[in-house]
């Protein structure tokens, strides 16, 4: 391997009639990495994946897989395999025939097919199911067979299109970890499409956040979560409080932001300008609510309600300007608090994130 990239998308655009699904997108996927395309439905993530698989041909741009330009190459000539959202197991074939399909297309010898199918089944822990028809398997089992059917071909890249979407929550969590471990042990490059941000954060080496056919941000999971570069990313990944504000003053290492009459502070950075309109985001779990003013207090507001969700308690506070803010507390210290009581909100200025639009 000479290049460090397994898949490179160069300026690809895909139009369906008048609609642009993917717009001048550039992306480099490293060899052996687990990359997730994350975004809401209709953001172009599945179309991007389908262009790598070859089911869609880009209107413009180049698709490189392992240093070969494949934009116009048919899917059956590409060394990638796909795990489909609906599993797409062949209903008229049993488990063995399903998994062996790709190998037989490549005219692999009978003994080798046998051995590789067994190994693939072992990897997904379904060795005893060779003779079952897909209909006789549960959703989770079908999913494992679909994965086995793809990895048995030793693809250079495995493409996964929301493969866990149809499973229940508990099974999904379990499969997320299994897939992650499988990817690590096989060392195959995975490109994973999902709209579930938690899933993306759990599994990925890197995350590509997409919106309206474009990439909003590419980064490590913690970068995407902690340092979103746009309002869309901050809003889409996890829960957050976003405030529209104006830069009102610089003092020392900090910038003061005016949120319609309420002033907060954030670390200064080079791009901020005086009187500029920006957005500030603070995650609910980074903020703290107290009944008395402390030296860290940034805001005061009135308590509205508490929502107990198990691991945390969500506290909803109304700010003097009428906006609401959510704070997550692990331990609920606000015993006996009533709606309308005055409370104080604090956070470390370093935990806030500021971005433009």
């Amino acid at each position: 391997m000479t290049s460090e990239y397994m898949v490179q998308l160069k300026n690809i655009t895909k139009k369906f009639g008048k609609d642009t699904a993917v717009n001048e997108l550039n992306l480099d996927v490293k060899v052996g990495e687990f990359l997730t395309l994350l975004g809401p439905s209709g953001c172009g993530k599945t179309t991007t994946l389908r262009m790598i698989a070859g089911f869609e041909k880009p209107t413009e741009g180049e698709v490189w897989i392992d240093e070969k330009q494949v934009a116009k190459i048919e899917p059956y000539k590409r060394e990638v395999n796909t795990v489909f959202q609906s599993y797409s197991l062949f209903p008229h074939m049993n488990v063995f025939e399903n998994i062996a399909f790709g190998l037989k297309m490549k005219k692999t010898g009978k003994d080798e097919v046998e051995e590789r199918v067994r190994n693939a089944l072992k990897l997904v822990q379904l060795e005893d199911y060779v003779n079952r028809k897909p209909k006789q398997l549960s959703g989770g089992q079908q999913q494992r067979i679909a994965i086995a059917r793809a990895i048995v071909n030793n693809p250079k890249v495995l493409l996964l299109d929301e493969p866990l979407g149809a499973l229940d929550l508990k099974l999904r969590k379990q499969m997320q970890l299994e897939l992650k471990h499988l990817q690590q042990s096989l060392g195959i490059t995975f490109i994973y499409v999902t709209h579930d941000q938690e899933e993306a954060l759990t599994m990925s080496d890197r995350i590509v956040v997409m919106n309206e056919g474009k990439i909003e941000q590419v980064g490590l999971p913690h970068e995407i979560y902690e340092k979103p570069v746009s309002k869309f990313v901050a809003d889409f990944i996890g829960e957050t409080n976003i405030f529209e504000c104006v830069v009102s003053e610089f003092k020392g290492d900090y910038a003061y932001l005016d949120i319609k009459g309420v002033t907060v502070v954030t670390p200064k950075n080079d791009t901020l300008q005086l009187d500029e309109s920006v957005y500030m985001s603070i995650r609910p779990e980074k903020a703290k609510v107290t009944l008395t003013k402390t030296q860290d207090t940034l805001l005061s507001g009135t308590f509205k309600e508490k929502i107990y969700v198990g691991s945390i308690t969500k506290i909803i506070i109304e700010l003097p300007n009428g906006r609401e803010m959510v704070v997550n507390e692990v331990e609920d210290d606000l015993i006996g608090i009533k709606s309308g009581n005055e409370v104080y909100v604090s956070w470390q200025p370093e935990d806030s994130v500021v971005f433009k639009g």
Binding site: F55, P75, T82, S86, H92
Partner: protein, 258 residues
Amino acid sequence: MRPKTKKILFVFTTLVFMFFYIPIIILMAFSFNDSKVGTVWTGFTFKWYGSLFSNEAIINSVTNSLIIAVVTTLIATVFGTLAALAIHRYNFPGKQAINFLFYIPVVIPDIIVAVALLALYGWLDVTLGIATVFPGHVAITISYVMLVVIARMAGLDASLEEAAKDLGANEWQTFWKITFPLIFPGVLAGALLAFTISLDEFVISYFTTGPGSDTLPVLVYSMVRLGVSPEINALSTIMVLLIVIMVFATGRKMSVSK
């Protein structure tokens, strides 16, 4: 369900089935009747079956009908399936219109097809014979095949074909290993429908066939004008049995491939 309702439903269902099957059963019974006049039972005999097989006109017409039905079925099944594939898979200008045009032959009265063909043959100065029967039969059966196959394809997950290509199968392999096995029950049902429609088609055959190449329904029609012959009863009995066997066989085949 109330006992009374149950009883009424039972009686009603029985009556419907009697309505379906009693005439056929009577016809089959009289094929073993010794009397030449169909209405009185005089004794049991197999002689009509014997004379049936020595009746050259009947054997000849059965052969004609079978040749026409088999060839019609082959042509209609291949082209009906191809048309269904095209309509299902591709988008092209005028697709809706073409799809609609395929439905017309199903609802258009056979007599119109027959008269139109006869006029065409007259205009082209074609001598009528067994060959002139095929076009009419193919024209009416191809639409049935297409409709049945399209219905089957509607339930087919398009990502199955993509999955096959993803695993290295080219278009040809994808069709024969995935698409065809999955639509096969529809193709078989369409073929069976085409075969039975062609076999008992009367109007078009009557208009477009020539002297000496009568199909079975045409021959039966000309024979019964002189009164129902017990040989026809015998022939009908054989056909009913063959068709029952065929339906059972294909029914099994379809449930296996599902």
